[in-house]
């Protein structure tokens, strides 16, 4: 299942599952990630699943590349093992005060606002990975006609809750951060809750996400 294992520095394994970005490869990465996580292998102190790679960091005081590689190579993942997957609905308000880049998208995609939003809200997304900033989900896949590059000059501050598009992905800014994704709306939900140590992320790799369009009034109600 893993195509190649190499070292990333002296304290991590770099597991390569392929070069493509698709659900099939990513699901394998996530299953592997979950299996290793459950095993609580001594010395492993972090796992980073991404589209098609899994990075396994370890404490060099306790173990080393050779030992961890041997363990990982002997882990069997059954093809039948199911992906833990939740269905999550995210309310999004696309009021013009939130959809900061809708005009840019209209121009780049040659579609009007309503056409863009219709495609967006119809889609069921799949969470490939979370990260970069705490809890940020990378959700795919947008169809070809909806794909744009990130902004030429990234924003210094993207507001918390912003929903952004870039290439085949949508994401959610879990807190205010610099960023270059095309912003189309905002969710009142707290997608990353720092007070919940056990499960701070609302969305995890493997989950299915649908966005639901809400009005400004509903947004304010939900925001509390």
């Amino acid at each position: 299942m893993i195509k190649n294992i190499s070292n990333l520095g002296d304290a991590a394994l770099y597991c390569d599952f392929g070069t493509e970005v698709n659900k099939d490869i990513n699901s394998k990465v996530i299953k592997f990630f979950e299996t290793i996580r459950e095993k609580n292998i001594e010395g492993i102190n972090n796992l980073t699943p991404s589209y098609n790679k899994l990075i396994i960091s370890f404490d060099l005081k306790i173990t080393n590349f050779k030992k961890i590689k041997e363990i990982v190579e002997n882990i069997e993942i059954k093809e039948t093992q199911k992906l833990n997957s939740k269905k999550i609905e995210i309310p999004v308000c696309c009021d013009s005060s939130f959809s900061l880049d809708i005009e840019r998208l209209e121009k780049k995609l040659n579609l009007d606002r309503e056409q863009i939003l219709e495609v967006f809200f119809k889609k069921e997304f799949f969470c490939y990975m979370t990260g970069f900033i705490a809890g940020m989900p990378f959700l795919g896949d947008l169809e070809e006609k909806m794909r744009v590059q990130r902004l030429e000059t990234p924003r210094v501050k993207v507001p918390k809750g912003s929903i952004g598009l870039t290439e085949q992905f949508a994401n959610i800014y879990t807190f205010e951060s610099p960023g270059g994704w095309n912003i189309i709306g905002n969710t009142p939900l707290n997608v990353f809750d720092i007070t919940k140590e056990k499960q701070p992320n609302l969305i995890n790799p493997g989950d299915k996400v649908k966005f639901k369009r809400i009005s400004m009034e509903e947004y304010k109600d939900l925001h509390g």
Binding site: L8, G9, D10, A12, Y14, N46, T48, G131, I133, A134
Partner: protein
């Protein structure tokens, strides 16, 4: 006295609480954080008789000016740091790796780090701090950790929950080595760079940019040419990973780095040199030297033994 605290009369430039950091959270986007210079963090705690992983005050460049309110407390400063103590209105030059006893009204004034970046102030006892995921470490980018994830500010109080006063002074002789050569293991995208680019990376000097902080160290100098693709599919990062974006200037990931990145990885700093890497100050030169995995592992073992040896001398 129950009410023991330090009053922050001047917070310093980037003063935070740090400990060993947090594990097993990369997959949700949270990095290790923790003390940048691990050896100096451990030595500080050992000198004041704390558990080795206790929270300390980390500062960068200019440190804090603190006034002690309470009965008696033992402190120490580690790193290469210039500081003064004001005891009963007598000014004393401070020396790193020694302990000092402060009494009510005494002050410690951490003026600056000396041709280095980070220093540590440890207090014997227990600072009253909030822990998140088992660590007090402040990550100012994500606002995680104690003090609401923000750096310390003027007029704040640092409350001490429990003091373990030790009348006996402790010290060790230790000199932080200043190095420009940083040992690096080739990265997973090493072949993305031209022959000339690879040569430049291991042969030329770079200058540490002012745009460096706990998240990353940016370097200026000769550009490293990419001949394959200036982007990769986003994937995990680690502290010590050296990415080269399209502009050809390397960026080294440090303890508060973003967990995922999409620039090619030319190399990874060997664990043995991480403590020394973070101490290289903006404007200083840095040069990379290639090392293979087994040498990196051996050198780390020796470094670890040396650290343990220093700890056992205290």
């Amino acid at each position: 006295m129950d009410n023991n605290y330090f009053e922050i009369k001047r917070a310093g430039i980037n003063t935070t609480f740090q400990d060993k950091g947090r594990n097993n959270l990369y997959h949700i986007g949270i990095p290790f954080s923790g003390a940048m210079d691990n050896r100096n963090f451990l030595l500080a705690n050992k000198l004041v008789g704390n558990k080795l992983d206790s929270p300390v005050i980390e500062f960068a460049y200019q440190g804090p000016l603190l006034k002690f309110n309470g009965d008696k407390i033992t402190i120490t400063v580690t790193g290469d740091v210039i500081f003064k103590l004001n005891k009963k209105n007598n000014e004393i030059e401070g020396r790193c790796y020694e302990t000092y006893q402060l009494e009510n009204g005494d002050e410690i004034n951490i003026l600056s780090t000396n041709k280095s970046v980070y220093g540590y102030l440890a207090i014997s006892g227990e600072i009253d701090l909030k822990f998140q995921w088992g660590s007090c470490s402040i990550n100012t980018k994500a606002n995680i950790g104690s003090n609401d994830g923000k750096k310390l500010t003027n007029k704040q109080k640092i409350n001490i929950r429990k003091i373990n006063f030790d009348q006996k002074n402790k010290k060790i002789d230790y000199l932080n080595s200043k190095i420009e050569n940083i040992r690096v293991i080739k990265g997973t995208n090493f072949d993305y760079f031209s022959e000339e680019g690879k040569k430049i990376f291991f042969e030329k000097e770079f200058i540490v940019s002012k745009l460096s902080d706990r998240m990353g160290m940016r370097l200026d100098g000769p550009k490293i040419e990419n001949i394959i693709n200036t982007n990769i599919k986003s994937e995990g990062l680690l502290k010590g990973v050296i990415q080269v974006p399209a502009d050809g200037n390397p960026i080294i990931m440090l303890s508060d780095h973003g967990t995922i990145g999409g620039y090619p990885k030319i190399g990874v700093v060997a664990s043995v040199d991480y403590d020394r890497l973070v101490q290289i100050s903006p404007g200083s030169k840095i040069k990379f030297k290639e090392i293979d995995l087994s040498d990196a592992e051996t050198l780390f073992k020796l470094y670890e033994m040396e650290t343990q040896n220093l700890i056992s001398q205290i």
